[in-house]
């Protein structure tokens, strides 16, 4: 049996995760009306957040050195990356529900790593609607903000989206890890997960220095959208956040996962009672 398992390789190794995810996706689409309502409400949330920026710009012409369509680019990058991370990792910050239902104990009885089981235990397809808003904003931003097209831009956009996705995912993992300790931990972790998302869609140039430290570097939100956008648009950037940092988005993603895994490990140890 061992040899056949090796022969089928990666595909076979992924079989447990595929089986769970496929069934989650199927069950969400099973009730069509319900799914349509979910998609609709998710779309609405995305549009409201976009409208917020639009309202702002009907009063000012520029914010933090960026015009409306340039901000659209920032918003699009941030919102698309966050929505996709939320789609696949969003359930991590409902960890207390898993603890209460005993689902986490069930994970211990299965031969896969706990975190991987948790990540692949659910998926929220309704976030696709929200991602569509982000994608649309990104498309309009790219088309109208005066982007010079070329391989450089394509690489930067891809780099920003992939890194942004990973950065937000790392935040969700950190949130899950911390909720092993915190009573009503969601209150606190929401502050940096959703606060992070919100700050990511703003131009970091309007932030005060303490804010730049917190959401620029500690929670590296500026790296998910603002900095890549500045690099793509060839803008001068701002104090502490020069445009070349846009290329460093992957480093921010690695840092975010480092924090996430550390929190997770810490939380899991706490749960098992093996000491901090």
């Amino acid at each position: 049996m061992a040899s056949t398992a090796e022969a089928t390789g990666l595909r076979e190794r992924l079989r447990p995760y595929r089986a769970v995810l496929a069934s989650r996706a199927r069950s969400q689409r099973a009730y069509r009306t319900n799914f349509a309502i979910d998609l609709g409400s998710s779309l609405l949330v995305g549009l409201v957040e976009l409208a917020e920026i639009w309202v702002l710009f009907s009063n000012v012409t520029a914010l933090g050195g960026m015009r409306f369509n340039q901000i659209l680019l920032v918003f699009g990058l941030a919102d698309l990356a966050f929505s996709l991370a939320d789609l696949s990792f969003g359930h991590l910050d409902t960890l207390p529900d898993y603890l209460r239902a005993g689902t986490l104990d069930a994970f211990y009885l299965r031969p896969q790593p706990i975190l991987l089981q948790l990540i692949t235990s659910d998926i929220s397809l309704r976030r696709l609607a929200r991602a569509a808003v982000g994608a649309a904003a990104l498309g309009i931003g790219l088309a109208t903000a005066g982007v010079s097209w070329g391989p450089r831009t394509a690489v930067l956009v891809t780099l920003a989206l992939v890194s942004g996705y990973a950065t937000f995912a790392g935040l969700f993992v950190a949130a899950a890890g911390l909720q092993f300790f915190l009573l009503d931990g969601a209150e606190m972790t929401n502050a940096f997960v959703y606060g992070g998302r919100y700050s990511a869609s703003q131009p970091a140039s309007v932030w005060s220095r303490p804010l730049k430290l917190v959401f620029g570097f500690f929670f590296p939100m500026a790296f998910t959208a603002y900095l890549p956008a500045v690099t793509i648009l060839g803008l001068p950037g701002t104090d502490w956040l020069p445009p070349w940092l846009g290329w460093c988005a992957p480093i921010a993603a690695v840092w975010s996962w480092l924090m996430g895994l550390l929190c997770w490990r810490w939380g899991l140890r706490h749960y098992q009672g093996g000491g901090g």
Partner: protein, 375 residues
């Protein structure tokens, strides 16, 4: 892999709990040393909060022991958790491992994928379990729509799908009706017979223990209070069954029966409760004796309540600790007789048979104390 399937040595788990403003250390499992061989069926009983679940969580690698050692299937549960998961199946009576919104069949498919069963293994084993547990009628129904009895059978099948060597069941029959309980027990006995599966179950149901287990562990405040077979346990605590008879006409209390002891009467003697020792006589004999004296319309037999058995074990353990403190230092308690755990008189109260001295020492200045336990 030879050797024990579960082996613990001085297994201890402490929890820090908040007690008002202060923090206090609670010892849930206290120096548990036990060895379970492959193929055994062990009942693990104790009051709520005695440490049963904590023990199971340490055996399966969910909790890290504070001290002591544990080997399950020859593996260290925490570092070797993933390898261990292939050999252990756990049923939590009050928690579900199935997917609430999916049909039972779909849950099995996912679990087969999780345990990396081949297509052939998956279909063979699923067919076997569906047949044995009679799941055929509700395979396509979502779990949330199942009755409790159906859900428990599906849970058991889910935990056993990967043919584990060790099956741990935490309150598997809680809330089930008599028929469902019986079916489940028969399945577990068959599974053990067919595959040599080791069973470890916690329960509050004496019927589970009687029909399924050939060895019983009683845990009290995290300590092992009894390790032996059921007859030994009944002897130790004098657990009796109760025959309740409804008679055709009121009869004076049946206090003169040889095989049973009169407990109480209702309706002026229309219904009488008679206690008897299942080790020495049978319900049929008691019934025959009653029938000689009165016409019996209806009858029920009450099983000894496991809570009661446990209470008696606990009471016995504590009583003897007190007795020990009355004795000389190092006095040997073996052989002090007496049929039950009650205090019969002052001075030399009877001691539950089966007791043995475990350890002794001086509790204080000039105060001899002997710690005893049941062996």
């Amino acid at each position: 892999m030879s050797g024990a399937i579960i082996e613990t040595g001085g297994l201890t788990r402490e929890f820090r709990v908040r007690d008002g403003k202060r923090r206090r250390l609670l010892t849930a499992v206290d120096g548990l040393t036990v060895r379970i061989e492959p193929g055994e069926a062990v009942g693990y009983i104790g009051a709520n909060g005695a440490g049963k679940s904590t023990t199971i969580k340490m055996i399966t690698g969910i909790l890290v022991p504070t001290s002591g050692s544990v080997l399950t299937c020859g593996l260290r549960p925490v570092p070797d958790r993933r390898r261990l998961a292939r050999q252990v199946g756990v049923v939590f009576g009050q928690r579900s491992q199935l997917w609430w919104d999916l049909p039972v069949r779909e849950s099995f498919r996912i679990l087969a994928a999780i345990h990396m069963l081949s297509r052939a293994e998956e279909s063979d084993r699923t067919a076997e379990l569906v047949d044995q547990l009679e799941l055929g009628d509700f395979l396509s129904i979502p779990v949330r729509q199942l009755s409790l009895g159906q859900r428990m059978r599906a849970e058991v099948a889910a935990a056993l799908l990967h043919s584990p060597r060790l099956v741990i069941l935490d309150e598997p029959t809680i809330g089930l009706d008599v028929l469902s309980k019986q079916r489940l027990r028969e399945f577990l006995m068959g599974e053990r017979r067919r595959h040599g599966t080791t069973l470890l179950l916690t329960t509050h149901d004496m019927g589970d223990v009687e029909r399924l287990c050939d060895r019983i562990l009683v845990i009290d405040h995290g300590r092992l209070a009894y390790d032996g077979d059921l007859p030994g346990l009944s002897r130790t605590v004098g657990a009796e069954r109760v025959l309740v008879v409804d008679l055709a006409a009121p009869v004076p209390d049946l206090t003169d029966l040889e095989s049973a002891r009169h407990l109480s009467s209702e309706g002026g003697g229309l219904r009488q409760r008679l206690a008897f020792d299942a080790e020495r006589t049978t319900a049929a004999k008691v019934l025959a004796a009653v029938s000689d004296k009165a016409e019996v319309l209806d009858l029920t037999v009450e099983e000894p309540d496991i809570e009661d058995v446990v209470r008696r074990i606990y009471a016995a353990g504590r009583l003897v600790t007190i007795v020990g403190s009355l004795r000389e230092p190092g006095a040997d308690l073996v052989g002090f007789g007496g049929a039950d755990g009650g205090i019969a008189g002052e001075g030399f109260p009877p001691v539950v048979p089966g007791l043995n001295r475990v350890a002794d020492g001086l509790a204080g200045a000039g105060e001899p104390a002997v710690r005893v336990g049941l062996l």
